[in-house]
């Protein structure tokens, strides 16, 4: 479904990714693991069209999407739930969710999707008319995920969904991620809680200093040595 071939990318003169190749097949859950600053977020942002590669090619459903911008990628069905929630703080939760359905393919079924999504997030339903900025971190993360699903994406990408949340909230977020995965969605996820993610995922890539150093089935990556090396350097 999605394929990166030898992608270099970065910000301005700063190059972060070097020759990254990876692929995500329809219905698969793929994770990228690696230390801080390894380029995980940049990889997701590059796929989402927020960063344009300086080298290499990205294809989505057979179409070359290397140079497409963010909103064009959304139109094609690629949605990123960004790190740090990134809600619209002075809009109500309902408005935030409706913005999620801005994508043309999702507009017509907005009401239907909203009902489905709210079933998945009962807590969000209670907060519909509150300003998003007034929610707690965990609630905001739930809204961010719900907002991502409102686009009815073909490929859903998560960037550190548990970042900065209290342990009990982290468990709730994982619960939601698990349920989304069980619906058969195609998911690409970056998450620092490696153990949990690798158990849910089908396959994983290890990113080090902007390069893919290892790709394997998630179960194989569960071997602690790799993960240890990636995160603790020992």
């Amino acid at each position: 479904m999605l394929a990166l071939e030898g992608v270099d990318a970065g910000y301005g003169a700063t190059s972060i990714l070097h020759g990254v190749s990876l692929e995500v097949r329809a219905g698969e859950v793929v994770t990228i693991v690696g230390a801080n600053g390894a380029g995980k977020t940049t990889t997701l942002r590059t796929i989402a069209g927020l960063v344009t590669p300086t080298q290499g090619r990205i294809t989505f459903e057979g179409e070359d999407v290397t140079r497409l911008s963010g909103h064009q990628m959304v139109e094609r069905g690629v949605t990123l739930i960004p790190e740090g929630r990134q809600l619209f703080p002075e809009m109500t939760v309902r408005e935030n969710l409706l913005m999620g359905a801005y994508r043309r393919a999702a507009r017509g079924r907005q009401a239907e999707t909203l009902a489905e999504v709210l079933d998945l997030f009962p807590r969000v339903r209670e907060r519909l008319d509150q300003n998003a900025g007034s929610l707690s971190g965990g609630e905001q993360q739930m809204v961010a995920i719900a907002r991502g699903m409102m686009a009815r994406p073909k490929l859903l990408m998560f960037d550190e969904p548990s970042l900065g949340l209290a342990p009990i909230v982290v468990a709730q977020v994982f619960d939601v991620v698990d349920r989304i995965v069980k619906t058969g969605a195609t998911v690409l996820i970056v998450e620092q809680n490696v153990f949990h993610t690798l158990q849910v995922a089908d396959r994983g890539y290890v990113l080090e200093n902007g390069e893919i150093v290892l790709a394997d089935a998630a179960k194989a990556l569960l071997d602690n040595d790799h993960v240890r090396r990636a995160y603790l350097g020992i």
Partner: protein, 607 residues
């Protein structure tokens, strides 16, 4: 980035011929400003050249604030008008404009300080808007107090001829005075740009926080800049009033004029010493010729041309004509892309001195942002000659702690004390205080002074201990050598790769000769070879007796460097101790990798 060391590109230093060529061009231009009108002898040509000199001087003076300091004043008419009125009124009282000129300059300094001090809190367009508003107030007040200023009718100078009264029948004396004023402003601007004050101004403009970390008193240097600029503008204003023989509020405290002098500087090259001169030389004749040849028919023509040229320059030549000139004279982007190559493998000369007494004490730091408790009762000590690693997952609050122990953030509670060289314990509060005590820091997100060269960037740090340019340059070169940046001394910082920028960040703070070094993720995003070299470099820095606190994610470096490690999670210290113990601490592993990981470890261990 590559692991293979690449020799420095031969073309990196700017060839010597170029400055000589520019100096020659400048000399020819300046001579022409006097020689052409004298040779032609036509009154109109005299007038055009006098006007060029006046505007070039005004624009050069403006550039000290607008260009060097980056504070875009659109109200410089205030100083011009003050100079004009002050000179004119004193002539009325029988005092020569040569004295009035200095009285006007003094008044302008007072007004500049009074206006700027509150306005410097404003940034970008708001500063510009505030200066416009002040200009309007001055204009309206000048109209209002008509007993003093003559109001809308304006003031005529009494026609007393001669050098004492700065009014002449001949054409050449005003040209001489205008040219002299131009030379004076150019000389002052040139001197400032080449000395410590200029470096401080440009550094403040480029990255205020980095400048403050380097010990620059950012408000003070900008106040100096605005005073000098205002004084020079007022002096030119006095002369111009005498030359025009008639002044009125609308023409003196004029927004159009204020915009024009800023415009010449931008078109010529903002922040360059000679750009404003170039801008004025090219654009002033358009006004005067349009007026002289086309008269009323072409009302607005020159303004239209100005506006269009400005738009085109903004869109296509953001560095102005000087930028364009530099493009042809400087070698291409040879430096780009290869800086990651070599860190000189720092020689470990000295033996490691023994770890000494406490040098920094941090107690009970608390910080809340909104409802978020980002720092909760953090306390630790740093001993002299020690390397303390500060680690923790993303969002643990490491950088917040750094900001509180370098004066960038005021803690809600708790204290930071630093032992001064004389042994007394101090409680610094502002970044400059920390810098004065020898605490230097780097920033996680590199903060280069993008428009300055690598050498100039490092010099900003070196100026902390050296007033003299030559000494600062020597220190900068030596530091660059040590950091493996020597081949790129002449390259603009904006062209460096991330690895180069990280090293520049460290080089700048090293040039301050710090006693305590706070390093915020200097290894992130650099390659393996460089990590190894950087570790050696840190160790060699430590061996010279510098105490270091390093936030680091590259665990290899943390393990190799740290004498002790502190682990922060959710704003709290969850573990501390020797690095090899800390990474085996279940609390730490849980913080990094989650509970399940620890659990599985235990299961493994039992099996």
């Amino acid at each position: 980035m590559t692991d293979i060391p690449i020799p420095a590109p031969a073309a990196a230093p700017v060839p010597r011929a170029v400055p000589r060529l520019s100096a020659l061009a400048l000399a020819i231009l300046l001579v022409a400003l006097v020689a052409v009108p004298v040779a032609v002898g036509n009154p109109f040509v005299y007038h055009v050249f006098i006007t060029i000199c006046v505007f070039a001087a005004l624009s050069t003076a403006w550039n000290i604030v607008g260009g060097f300091a980056g504070q875009l004043s659109l109200g410089h008419g205030i100083f011009y008008g003050l100079g004009a009125y002050c000179g004119m009124l004193l002539v009325g009282a029988g005092i020569s404009p040569w004295l009035g000129m200095f009285a006007g300059a003094g008044l302008a300094v007072l007004v500049a300080l009074a206006i700027s001090y509150p306005c410097f809190r404003l940034h970008g367009p708001f500063f510009s808007l505030a200066t416009i508003a002040f200009l309007e107030v001055f204009r309206v007040l000048a109209l209002h107090f008509r007993d003093l200023t003559g109001g809308a009718t304006g003031l005529m100078i009494p026609l007393k001829f001669g050098w004492t009264w700065m009014v002449f029948r001949d054409r050449w004396p005003p040209l001489a005075i205008a040219f002299g004023l131009l030379l004076l402003t150019l000389a002052i601007a040139w001197w400032m740009r080449g000395h410590r004050i200029g470096f401080h101004l440009v550094a403040t403009r480029e990255r205020e926080s980095a400048a403050r970390a380097a010990g620059v008193r950012t408000v003070a240097v900008r106040l100096v800049a605005v005073s000098v600029s205002g004084a020079l503008t007022a002096m030119v204003g006095t002369f111009h009033a005498m030359y025009l023989t008639f002044i009125e509020p609308a023409a003196m405290f004029s927004l159009t004029l204020s915009i024009q002098i800023a415009m010449f500087a931008l078109i010529g090259g903002l922040g360059t010493v000679f750009g404003p001169l170039l801008g004025a030389v090219l654009l002033v004749p358009i006004t005067e010729l349009a007026r002289g040849w086309l008269g009323a028919k072409a009302l607005g023509l020159h303004g239209l041309v100005y506006g269009l040229v400005l738009i085109l320059v903004v869109l296509f030549l953001p560095n102005g004509l000087m930028g364009l000139a530099a493009r042809f004279t400087r070698p291409g982007k040879a430096a780009r892309g290869v800086q990651a190559a070599t860190v000189a493998a720092a020689p470990r000369t000295a033996e490691r001195p023994p770890v000494g007494d406490d040098i920094v004490r941090v107690e009970g730091l608390q910080k809340r942002f909104g409802g978020l408790h980002v720092t909760n009762d953090v306390g630790f000590t740093l001993r002299e000659g020690e390397i303390l690693g500060l680690i923790g997952p993303n969002g643990a609050g490491k950088t917040t702690v750094f900001n509180m122990i370098s004066g960038f953030l005021r803690p809600d509670a708790g204290s930071v004390s630093v032992r001064a060289p004389d042994g007394t314990w101090q409680h610094p509060s502002r970044p400059a205080d920390y810098a004065a005590l020898g605490v230097g820091r780097t920033f996680q997100i590199v903060q280069p002074f993008a428009a300055m060269t690598v050498e100039e960037n490092i010099m900003v740090g070196a100026f902390h201990r050296h007033r003299d340019v030559g000494e600062a340059r020597a220190v900068a070169r030596e530091t660059a050598e040590r950091m493996g940046l020597a081949p790129w001394l002449g390259a603009e910082a904006r062209g460096l790769t991330i690895g180069g920028l990280k090293r520049l960040e460290v080089a700048r703070v090293m040039a301050m000769r710090p006693r305590v070094l706070l390093l915020d993720e200097v290894m992130a995003g650099i390659n393996q070879t460089d990590v190894r070299r950087a570790i050696d470099l840190m160790l060699s820095i430590r061996d010279t007796g510098v105490s270091i606190i390093a936030i680091e994610h590259v665990m290899q470096a943390v393990m190799a460097l740290s004498d002790r490690v502190i682990v922060l999670n959710s704003g709290q210290i969850i573990a501390q101790g020797r690095p090899e113990d800390v990474v085996r601490d279940p609390t730490v592993i849980e913080a990094y990798l989650g509970k399940e990981f620890v659990h599985k470890e235990l299961v493994h261990a039992r099996a």
